[in-house]
């Protein structure tokens, strides 16, 4: 049952992308190309989708369980952090270069030639290395935090500071 509705949801998503013309990289790049031949279509697509989801959330927020009895998503992270900003900038850069983001790249896979497959493979590589890049970024933070400020701090306070930074990291 879950799989049937997941398929239906994916199908609606894909059909919507096709009808909206969002599988056309020219229209997507046209929206991003503010200094070129600007194409506002994407704004209408986003407005339509966000409009439906606004009402869906009003219903969803009153429910404790989904219609199939699984827990509703909750406890969303609220922190705007560097990974969110840096990741979005990198994603945007790639989105602009090829005019493809993950949804339309999948939706157009069957009629997008070898280019579509190559994009999906490259995207998979990017997704596979992402956890390592995340670790590397947080390792950079730890070296910055730990080295200099502890030099002249008394033993007990140093221990205290250590505890706090560990608590924050968790």
């Amino acid at each position: 049952m879950r799989n049937f509705f997941a398929f239906l949801s994916g199908g609606l998503f894909g059909a919507g992308l096709l009808v909206a013309g969002m599988v056309d990289t020219k229209k997507v790049q046209g929206w991003l190309d503010v200094f070129g031949d600007w194409d506002p279509t994407l704004a209408f697509v986003l407005t339509g989708a966000v409009g439906v989801m606004f009402f869906v959330w009003m219903v969803a927020q009153r429910r404790e369980k989904s219609m199939l009895g699984s827990p509703m998503p909750g406890a969303f992270p609220r922190l705007v952090d560097r990974n969110l900003v840096l990741g979005s900038l990198l994603f945007g850069a790639g989105w602009g270069m090829a005019g493809l983001c993950p949804g339309p790249a999948m939706g157009s896979l069957s009629f997008n030639g070898w280019q579509g497959w190559l994009f999906i493979i490259a995207m998979g590589v990017g997704m596979a290395i992402a956890p390592r890049v995340k670790d590397w970024l947080s390792a950079l933070d730890r070296t910055k935090l730990e080295v200099p400020p502890c030099e002249n701090i008394p033993e007990e306070e140093r221990a205290l500071a250590g505890n706090t930074s560990r608590a924050v990291a968790r």
């Binding site: 879950r2 509705f5 997941a6 398929f7 239906l8 994916g10 199908g11 609606l12 998503f13 059909a15 919507g16 992308l17 096709l18 909206a20 013309g21 969002m22 599988v23 056309d24 020219k26 790049q29 991003l32 503010v34 070129g36 279509t41 697509v45 407005t47 339509g48 989708a49 966000v50 439906v52 989801m53 869906v56 219609m67 827990p71 998503p73 705007v80 990974n83 969110l84 900003v85 840096l86 979005s88 900038l89 994603f91 790639g94 602009g96 090829a98 983001c101 993950p102 949804g103 999948m106 939706g107 157009s108 069957s110 280019q115 994009f119 490259a122 998979g124 990017g126 997704m127 596979a128």
Partner: protein, 141 residues
Amino acid sequence: MHQDWIWGLVGGLMIGAGAGVYLLVNGRIMGASGIIGGLIDGSGRDTVSERVAFLGGLIAVPPLLVPLYKVVDTHVTSSIWVIVAAGVLVGLGTRLANGCTSGHGVCGISRFSLRGIVATAFYLLGGGLSLVIFRHLLGVI
């Protein structure tokens, strides 16, 4: 051309309906990068079949509608290095930010999520800068 916005709106409503089904029926956020990424890095190993079913619908349904149009030209670039660089950036960026146009954009903005709104602002900025640099300054796309 002048009717594009109507079809954009209609398609947008369908995309919203897809996201609505996934949220209300399955209790999950419809984010394309998260659904794919969870399969790739193993973080979604408890929900593999649901993810595969979603992607199955996303990949299999659009070609059924293609015959309604005379031509569906995706205007996709044939430059190998542009595709590879763009793909890696999209994959890495969406997983670092934990969402893409569907997760942060469609599902995030609609619940007034600060993270969704900030992410959308920055990927639009990244996309705009990308066009300025790679199309207008370097002329490679």
